[in-house]
Symmetry: C2
Subunit: 136 residues, 2 copies
């Protein structure tokens, strides 16, 4: 397994970039607007793309991320680990009584398969699992 | 920069290992007891040691981690990034008005230099910076 990303929820992506990019010096790969989830995301990869920091801000006041921010405040939101076969891993976790948020994997537009494990089963951590597309 | 570790505060290391090691399948490198900080830590490295998960539990009711756990509950605690020169990075951050928890780096028994950046300046994230020993 590898760390794919660490997701941080912030009020405003540009304000957060003044620390993570401008002061700390991480490279900004790109930002994107995801209208489906009503968020803006900035992607800041590590050396050799061994994991990245994602800064996530709500773009509407009623999105899931906006509600999270209002309730919990800015900070670490979830971590994502890459696994070779997410369907097999989900079956294994279910067989061991682990509570999943997604019983089966969903697919991102780029072909990445993903699913979330519930914080109840992980010690309070929202955990995303990724299976990257074969070409990736 | 590289991700060195993601630190998760839990009630009990062995209980947390039933998920992270036994169900998810991460290898447990070792556990250690740090009496100075009154914590037990389990280290679960990724493939090729590209970052690791650290599970941290208090071993006394009055430690800093015990108080954090009582106030915030179990979950993501901090992330740690490796930098080539932590003293230079701290000076740079200070010159840009970033609030540090440690104004200068401290030294771990293995020679690793480390310092924490205050969540006020990062968008709510407790950020540790590591400079690994030259031999590492």
């Amino acid at each position: 397994m590898k760390i794919n990303h660490i997701a941080i929820v912030v009020e405003d992506v540009n304000a957060a970039l003044t620390f993570w990019r401008d002061a700390l010096g991480l490279p900004l790969q790109h930002t994107e607007r995801n209208d489906g989830e009503a968020v803006e995301i900035a992607f800041l990869p590590m050396e050799g793309h061994q994991g990245e920091i994602e800064l996530i801000a709500p773009i509407t006041p009623d999105s899931g991320v906006a509600k999270y921010l209002a309730k919990k405040g800015a900070g670490l939101h979830h971590i994502c680990l890459e696994v070779p076969d997410v369907a097999a891993k989900l079956e294994e976790l279910k067989s061991k009584g682990i509570e999943l948020i997604n019983d089966s994997a969903k697919t991102r537009p780029d072909g990445t398969l993903y699913a979330f494990v519930h914080p109840k089963s992980t010690g309070g951590v929202l955990l995303e699992l990724y299976q990257l597309p074969k070409s990736g």
